[in-house]
Structure formats: structure tokens, C-alpha cells
């Protein structure tokens, strides 16, 4: 019994078996004004990878300066501008859009058995808003730069010279890209599921995207208003954050983190979503506790709105407020723990293939343990007061944002590469590059926990000699990480140039997106599919569906 049936009516494009979304129209304009979610996803992918490269080079410069105490490469003011742009580019221009807008755009309609998203024109508009926002933000680099850190705390951000307004305005515009994409995805998931795809047959990646989209729609407007207030404060001196005018600098922190805490769940939820797909495919099992896993995604989205002031335990809030936020922050740890136990449990008595995408999924499990558990030190008031604003926090968030989300993104890129490009990459190279990346990554950030607990504050240009050894280790491993990532990039470029043609289902997955050819035709499936099973029902999938071709 075929689990995915298609209707018998003919459809356009059925004539040429080699017709796909890449070759159906040619020329630059066919890309720039495309309404095809797959092409839009590819444009996002190229753009976010370019920003990842730029932000990564900034990181290498920061770590290079910190190789030795004293002046190594640059003056303090330059260093401050470099770490600021590293944060702004990585947060707003890479990690928030990367999984939802690049991979999500490509895969979501296919996983639903739909032809496209609900609002294709809005989708294209989202992309251009993103690019416009990025242009404004990057323009600030040539207009004096910004030295405030990516969090723009007042009064420093309202009184420092430099192009703060351009950068903040850029983030403001890019935020609308996020909101509209979220809206598009929510409507698509509600309205365009193929016949037979009930909510309990929804792939967990889409549950994750759904939860993320709710966060994007509800939280991002708060950032927009906050940034607008910052611009008004700088340009018109309205005084809302200025103590000399009766304003309160700490108010900015409340506004900023009310968005930015949900934002970190916008970053991690899609990563967790990808991990579900990787583990299911490469264990040939339905994720253990499917229900608990999607409920935990929704719970994380809800709770993420309640914990913002755990970024502010030392800001001067009352002990009572700190108590409430500490308690709520512990609550947020529970759904994450549930997911980790379910992922690990799925491995028991499974049928496991450690292909390159799975390696990234397994690394996620290890690194998310570290990232999540180090959050406990920060949720606990007594220890957070010591660790706040030290390298311990830097290490914590890089473990969840890079060690978890970016590793998931890279795993997803490997996993869906054959679908997006129709080509295979060299598997042996992929595994070698993985190991270099894994070792490099952990070597950069593990020492930073110790630097922090020993008292090394964040955003420091220079440090006392006692901190030199750990800084030096961290910097050297940043070079190893760079080698791993560049090696992987060259591998992908080689695949584009002369990679082997990908079969229909290279990973023997039962996922719905593997039911269509690689690369997919313009309308994703030869004809409207019907789903008769769930995406992880390996015991119901036929051998023909699981086979490579």
C-alpha cells in the first residue's frame, strides 16, 4: 500500500521528466522576481551564508586580538566596533533567518504536500525587506560604525557617536521580514496541508517552525517599537531612557529583552526541529514521545515570553522581581530536558546510520546538553550574580546558538542538499570536515566557561596576564573551526560543480519531502499527493518508498 498517493489528473510539467524548479526559467530576473518558495529559499540561503562568512571573519578578528594581553592587532575602539558588528550580523542577519527562511521556505510546502506557501508574493517581499534591512545595517559600517554591542544598552547607545541610527533602523526593517515570514508559515500550515495530513501526522520540523512563527509574529513588533524609541531618543532626545529628563536607562533593557528572549527561542526551536528529522531518518524510527516533543515546542514558545528579566538580575531590579524571573526560568528548562530524553530514547534499539547529517544531529545532542545545563548556573540567582557579564555567559549562548542551532542548520544543509541542488556531496570529505569543525568548535568555547567563572568579564579588549593561557587556547581553536568550515564550504562548491546526480531518496527516509524528485519540479509533486501515514511511520512505509530510487 503506497503511503503517499497522487491523483490521476494530469498536470503541467508532467511531460518532461527532467523539468525542475532550477531549469524551468532562466536568467537573473527569473530569480529576482520569482514567486517560487524554493527559489526564494535558495536566495535566502545564499544571503545568510554570505552574512555567516562576514560575521565569522569578524569573530576571527576578535579572537585574534585576544590572543595576547595588550594591543595585539588593533586599538580598543576598533575592537569594540568589530565585536558589535559580529553580534549584529550573526544575530539579525544570520541566525534568526537561517533555518526558517532559508531551509524552512524550501522544505515546508513540500513536507505539507503543497505547491507553495499561502502568500507567495508576501514571501518575496519578506526577502527584499530582509535585504533592505541588511543594507541599512551594513551602511552603518561606512558611516562611522557602531561600538555599542549588539544589545544597544542605554545610555551608552544614546550618547555614543557613530552610525547607531542606521544600524538600528536596519534591524527594524529586517524585523518585518521575520514577522511576515512567520505569518505566511502559520497560514500555510493551517490551510495547505495535503489530504490525510492531520495535525498528529505533521513532521516535527513543521511543529517547530509553527511554534517559531508564533514567536516571530508576537515578539518582533516589540523589538520594532524598542528600536524606534531608541532612534527617537538619539535623534530627538525624547528622554525616555535619559535619567536627566526623568527617563530610565533600565527600561530599555526590559523592552529589549522582552523581544530578545523569545528571539533566542526563535533561534533554537527550528534547530531542534531539524534534529527531529535527522534522528528519525537516520534511526528509521518515529521520534520517541512525538506528542511530548511537539507539546514541548509549544510550551517553550509560551514560556519564553515570561523570563526576559533573567538577563537583568544585576541591573537594579528588586529582589522580588529577580525571584519571580529565576523561578520562571527554571520552568523553561523542563521542556528542553524532555526533548533531550526523547531524542536519546529514540536511539535505543533503533537502526542507526551515522551519515554526515546525522553526525551533526548527534553533536547537537552533546552540545545542547552543555548549553542547556550551563543555563542552570545562570537561572540560579546566587551563581548568576557572579557569572553575569562574564565569559561564562558568552560560552553558554555560543553553545546553544552555535553548538546547537548552527550545527543543526549545517546538518539540515547536508540533509536537504540533494533535494535543493539535485546533487550529492562527497560523504568522506563531509565526515572529515565535521570532525575538524566539532573539535575546533568545542576547543573555542569550553575554555570560555572557565575564563568566566574565574572572573573574566565580557567585551574586554584586554585582560590581566592570568587569563592569557585560556584565551590563547580559545583563539587557536578558532583557527581549527575556520578550517573545518572552509573545508566544508569547498566540499559544497565541488558538489555544485561536478557532484554526482542525487537519487530520489538518498537517505532512505520515510519523510514526505522525499516523495518527490530531486530537485523538485516547479509545483513540488507531479500531482496532488494524499498522505495515508505519518512521516515517521517506518513500519508502514513501503520498501519502494524507502529505497533510494
Amino acid at each position: 500500500m503506497a503511503a503517499i498517493t497522487t491523483d490521476s489528473h494530469g498536470h503541467a510539467g508532467q511531460g518532461d521528466p527532467n523539468a525542475n524548479y532550477l531549469n524551468n526559467k532562466k536568467g537573473v530576473m527569473s530569480w529576482l522576481i520569482t514567486l517560487d518558495h524554493k527559489r526564494i529559499g535558495v536566495m535566502y540561503l545564499v544571503t545568510v551564508l554570505a552574512f555567516f562568512l562576514f560575521g565569522g571573519i569578524m569573530a576571527l578578528l576578535v579572537r585574534a586580538e585576544l590572543f595576547s594581553p595588550g594591543r595585539t592587532l588593533m586599538d580598543p575602539d576598533t575592537y569594540n566596533r568589530i565585536f558589535t558588528i559580529h553580534g549584529v550580523v550573526m544575530v539579525f542577519l544570520f541566525i534568526i533567518p537561517a533555518i526558517p527562511a532559508a531551509l524552512g521556505n524550501f522544505v515546508l510546502p513540500i513536507m505539507l504536500g503543497a505547491k507553495d506557501v499561502a502568500f507567495p508574493r508576501l514571501n518575496l517581499a519578506s526577502y527584499y525587506l530582509f535585504v533592505a534591512g541588511a543594507c541599512f545595517a551594513l551602511f552603518s559600517l561606512i558611516d562611522g560604525g557602531v561600538d555599542t554591542g549588539w544589545t544597544f544598552y542605554t545610555p551608552y547607545s544614546t550618547t555614543t557617536n557613530g552610525a547607531v541610527v542606521w544600524m538600528v533602523f536596519g534591524a527594524f526593517i529586517a524585523g518585518f521580514s521575520s514577522i511576515l515570514t512567520g505569518l505566511n508559515f502559520i497560514v500555510t500550515i493551517h490551510k495547505l496541508r495535503a489530504p490525510g495530513q492531520t495535525w498528529s501526522r505533521l513532521p516535527l520540523f513543521l511543529w517547530a517552525i509553527y511554534a517559531t512563527s508564533i514567536l516571530q509574529v508576537l515578539a518582533t513588533p516589540v523589538l520594532a517599537i524598542t528600536l524606534l524609541l531608541l532612534i527617537l531618543e538619539r535623534t530627538m532626545g525624547i528622554g525616555i531612557f535619559d535619567p536627566h529628563k526623568g527617563g530610565d536607562p533600565v527600561l530599555f533593557q526590559h523592552f529589549f529583552w522582552f523581544y530578545s528572549h523569545p528571539a533566542v527561542y526563535i533561534m533554537i526551536l527550528p534547530g531542534m526541529g531539524i534534529v527531529n528529522e535527522l534522528i528519525a531518518t537516520f534511526t528509521h524510527r518515529k521520534i520517541m514521545g512525538y506528542r511530548a516533543v511537539f507539546i514541548s515546542s509549544l510550551a517553550l514558545a509560551l514560556f519564553s515570553f515570561l523570563v526576559w528579566a533573567h538577563h537583568m538580575f544585576t541591573s537594579g531590579n528588586s529582589e522580588y522581581a529577580n525571584m519571580v524571573f529565576s523561578a520562571l526560568t527554571f520552568l523553561v528548562a523542563i521542556p528542553s530536558g524532555v526533548k533531550v530524553f526523547n531524542w536519546t530514547g529514540t536511539l535505543w534499539r533503533a537502526s542507526i546510520w551515522t551519515a554526515s547529517p546525522m553526525l551533526y544531529g548527534l553533536a547537537f545532542l552533546f552540545q545542547f546538553c552543555i548549553g542547556g545545563l550551563t543555563g542552570l548556573f545562570l537561572a540560579t540567582l546566587a551563581t548568576d550574580i557572579h557569572l553575569h557579564d562574564t565569559y561564562f555567559v558568552v560560552a553558554h549562548f555560543h553553545y546553544v546558538m552555535v553548538g546547537s542551532t548552527v550545527f543543526a542548520f549545517i546538518g539540515g544543509l547536508h540533509y536537504w542538499w540533494p533535494k535543493i541542488t539535485g546533487k550529492l556531496y562527497d560523504e568522506a570529505t563531509a565526515k572529515r570536515a565535521f570532525w575538524v569543525t566539532f573539535v575546533g568548535y568545542n576547543g573555542v568555547f569550553l575554555p570560555q566557561f572557565v575564563l568566566g567563572s574565574r572572573g573574566m568579564p565580557r567585551r574586554y579588549y584586554d585582560y590581566l596576564p592570568q587569563f592569557e593561557t585560556l584565551h590563547r587556547v580559545s583563539t587557536v581553536f578558532s583557527w581549527v573551526l575556520a578550517v573545518g568550515l572552509f573545508w566544508m564550504a569547498f566540499m559544497f562548491i565541488q558538489s555544485l560543480r561536478n557532484g554526482k546526480k542525487a537519487p530520489r531518496n538518498p537517505w532512505n527516509s520515510a519523510g514526505f519531502e522525499w516523495g518527490s524528485p530531486n530537485p523538485p519540479p516547479l509545483e513540488n509533486f507531479p500531482s496532488q499527493p494524499t498522505f495515508n501515514r505519518g512521516p515517521y511511520d517506518y513500519h508502514l512505509a513501503t520498501d519502494a518508498e524507502i529505497a533510494e530510487d
Binding site: 551608552y156 535619567p243 536627566h244 536519546t344 542507526i352 548527534l362 551563581t383 562574564t390 513500519h539
Partner: protein, 339 residues
Amino acid sequence: MIHFFIPQPASFDLPPPISSEAPQIDWIYNLIYYVSVFFTVVITGLMLYWVHKYKRKKGDKRVETPHYPRLEIVWTVIPIIFVAFLFHIGFKAYLGQTMASQDALEIRVRGQKWQWWFTYPNGREAPNELYLPVGKQVKFVISAVDVLHSFYVPGARTKKDAVPGMYTTMVMTPTSLGDTPVYCAEYCGAPREGNPEPAYAGAPHGGHSAMMAMIHVVSQAEFDKRMTEGPSKPEGLTDAQWGAQLYKSNACVTCHSTDGTKGTGPSWKGIFGKPVELNAGLSGGTGSATVDESYVQESIRVPAAKVVAGFAPVMPPYSEQALSEKQIDAIIAYMKTLE
């Protein structure tokens, strides 16, 4: 160069605890650490073991994933109990660092780019270095002059942000004699050009990272002596030599070079006795002045009165409590030697 001794960490992760509140916080830190290591090892270990044991083989059956609702409840409830416990002990220990007793020693702390100023109960003021009597609870009353800073004492496992327009408080009871550093832990920028010397000699460079101070925990007797004694010239030094020390220890070095380089303030090289053009100041003084003894004395006590043209009026005033007349005389003597 002032030499200060920072002892080796008492544990691998943490600096030596110097306050009565710190050991309790370290205990909680270590508890979380061991629980975290345990869980990470268990999860990673199971992952590695099962990935190896259940490697895909030809003929593997594709089956349904089994359901264990009771197990799922257990692994939800046990973490809830653990985090509730952690919240409780964390909150309790935290309160110990925030509630001061009535007879705590009150120290007023002001942060500004890029140095810390301390005021003792008897009105005495000093930048960069703070003396505290061992065994006595201290209540810091903290504020900032310009932007956010954060008063961080790693040895006491405590910090509090310095916020302009607001007073914040922080409590600690130092129990170890010796020196313990203070770092600024809230990003506050750096000098726009170059890489000038930090206010506290031997501190790192770079504005925010240069904003270090040193707490000297001394005996009650020594503390009392320091509070009553006038600051006097050290044995065997000339006035000019004492002035050279004061130039560093009172942070003049942060803004005034001695080699002609323009900083936040004018260089002292060759400036004594020179006529200078002025910006408009507090007392409406414009035009020009000569940098004589009277000018220097006024510019230390009321810096905004006569600001040299081309410089911003950002110098903090040094009151009688911060620099005595004798100390100003020594600084003037030093300036005269800087041809």
C-alpha cells in the same frame, strides 16, 4: 609600576573566596557543576553506546517506536523537583548578598568612564583603591555618572550595575586579608583614539577593560589609621617624586600625558607657566589664562571653571577629601619638572 598579588585560584574554576558569603555560592556552583557533568556524561554515553550497538545492518526491521508514558512522567517530574530545589537554595544565598544589617559600613561607589571613585563614611574620597576592614559587613551604594557600569568583585562572587540616575546596593563581608580586584562588568566603551594608560596602574588597557580597582582588606586598626591620618609624603621622597606617584594613583595619567600626546586632557609636558586659550567654563571665564599654581589648584578643585580650548569639560573634581593641599603642592612640583 604598582605590583599587586593575585593569588592562584582556590579551585580550578573559581577565584579564591574572600567573603563570608562566597563559600555558600561556591557550594551551589559545584552542585550544579557535578549534576551537569553527570547528565552530560550519561546522555552522551548512552548516545555513543547505542549508536555503536544499533548500527544499521541489512535486514533490520522497521518497527514502531515503543511508548513509555510512565518513563516520560518520571523524566519530567524529577527535573522539576531538582530545579525547584536549585531555585530555593539559589534564592536564599542570593538574599544574603542583598540585605545589609543596620551597622554595615557604608561605602559610596561612583563609576564613570573609566574609573571607580570611593567615598568613605567620614567623607574621605579616593579613586581606584578602596580600603576595607576585615570581618565587617560592607554595604556599597553604587551609582554611575555617565553610562551603565557594573561593580564586580569576583572574590566575593558579587556584582551590581552602576546606573545613572539611580542608587543600587550590594552587600559583602570580606573575611580574608589581602588584595582583591574589582572589574567593570558592563560594557562602557573605550577611548576614541589610541590606547592610553588605565587609571589603575597595571590594569589592562581599553576603557571598559581598563576600569579596574583594587580592594585592600586590612585589619580594623590599619583601616582606622587610614581614615584618620592625613595623607603624607612617603619617607625619602622629594615633593616632585611624590607628585609623580600621585599623578598615577589619582588617575591624572588617564587623561594627561607627560610626553606631549593629546589625550582627553592637555599634556603636562611643558605646560606649567604657559599661557593657554580657554573654552567658556562654569564661571563664564573665557579668553586666556596662565598655567600657574593658582590655575592648577583651581583646575583640580573645580575643573570646569577654566577648560583649555579644544578639550571637553569631563574632568571629575577632586575635593579636599580626595587630594589635600599638600598633595596638590606635590603635583605642582612634579608638573614643573616636565619640560
